[in-house]
């Protein structure tokens, strides 16, 4: 959507967002059309386009005309590929989070095009907005994962404690050598290991009475 906004607001032909992952690899996250998507993929793959330079330097990489000698010299394969795909100008704007570049907003033009000062600032503002959205989305995804993890851990904890209680009470009821809850836990863990079961699954079976406690108590 942001890529589409760029086209409307900045008078560009195509736009795309490339993201940097934790290992520094680049991937295409959004593109205003499949045509620019192909080019972005190309830019990432060749490891020598303006996006790569933008990530490395954290600076805007503006190229008014890809057929010009300096562009051909700087990014020979990218410039050739882009021109073949029908583009003449490319502007890469960094998506910065403090000192890190987390992505690149790339603007493409089918004609030679100098980005005006105002458009450069507007483009950068859009890149910054995209950065904020991205950070929020990542944080939210992480929060959801932690929440699920937390729920799982708490449920796991409950059922293991309950199973310790079941085993301790059963050992007493069956007039065996009574075990206390900590000894019950040792029995539980030993049984789960020797039968290749997950501790939580075994505990749940005991609590739900689908496994006879004597099986575990007798080791």
């Amino acid at each position: 959507m942001l890529a589409e906004r760029c086209i409307a607001l900045l008078d560009v032909s195509a736009a795309g967002i490339i993201l940097v992952d934790g290992q520094g690899r680049l991937s295409v996250a959004a593109a205003s059309s499949e045509r620019s998507r192909l080019l972005e993929v190309f830019a990432v793959a060749i490891d020598g386009g303006p996006c790569v330079d933008c990530v490395r330097t954290g600076e805007q990489q503006l190229c008014d005309d890809l057929t010009a000698a300096d562009a051909q010299h700087r990014w020979p394969r990218y410039a050739r590929g882009a021109v073949e795909a029908g583009f003449r100008a490319t502007h890469a704007l960094p998506m910065r989070l403090r000192d890190d570049v987390i992505g690149v907003l790339t603007l493409l033009h089918t004609r030679p095009h100098a980005l005006s000062d105002i458009d450069a600032r507007l483009g950068q503002a859009l890149a910054d907005a995209a950065t904020i959205g991205l950070i929020h989305e990542r944080a939210l995804r992480r929060a959801e994962t932690v929440q699920e993890q937390l729920q799982g851990a708490l449920n796991s904890r409950i059922v293991i404690e309950q199973a310790k209680g079941v085993l301790a009470a059963e050992s007493h009821l069956r007039s065996r050598t009574a075990v206390d809850p900590e000894e019950a836990f040792a029995l539980l863990r030993r049984h789960a290991r020797s039968h290749g079961q997950r501790l939580t699954d075994l505990a749940r079976s005991l609590v739900e009475r689908t496994v006879d406690p004597s099986v575990v108590l007798e080791g």
Partner: protein, 260 residues
Amino acid sequence: MGGDGTDRPPDDEAADGDLPRGSEPVALGHRLGQVCADLLSRVAVDGAGITVMGSLAGGLRGARDQIAAVGALSSRLEDLQLTTGEGPCLDAFARGVPVLTADLAAELGRWPGFAPSALAAGAAAVFSFPLQLGVVRLGTLDLYRTRSGGLSRSQLASALAAGDAVTEALLTDPDTDPGTGEDIGWLPGVHADVHIASGMLSARSGMDVGTALLRLRAHAFAHGEPLREVARRVIARTLDLTDPIHDDPRPTPDPEDDHP
């Protein structure tokens, strides 16, 4: 921490499997305890605690843990909220907004089970803040005062900032990292005895563990006894709750009914 909760060893034995842990078991709890301790002076409260839960329904049936507690009443208030199934922490979690009660004595009708017991324990004002990011909630930061009185604007700001810092810590700390699988060593397990006692009562009586937990809660509420003490007595076999007739000569209010 009121001398309690330190009587349990760090529970890495409760982790599923025996993979070595990647970090110190107490690292996160220690950090959060520091956040709570700092709040005492900055927000002028007498105690602060952090309770985590994955969902309200889970929290109501005991899938919750108090991962930090400073002040003599913090663990008692957590115990009371599990006992009665109501209170500021649960409301803050359910609604996703701070629940600020400057004068608990004036809120008896809001929490008919929790409020009188909390007052009797010595709490006069309670403030709970949800730990949340967007719609995702992880628990609450709970503050109390032993004298009634509201939070000033700057105290409120400090408390909100502390809540955000705790949320951030929960989201970024390696202890809670999803990569560690079912490793639950970072959870102190403050309600462990309650769940052990539920399992015992279930085995002795044939009732399911959910019903057993209700029996423990009902007994604690009816007798004004901390739930954790009731649990310890059940574990030590000095309290028999298998026969409801002989347990409570008085009618026992069902704390579950108080929560919609």
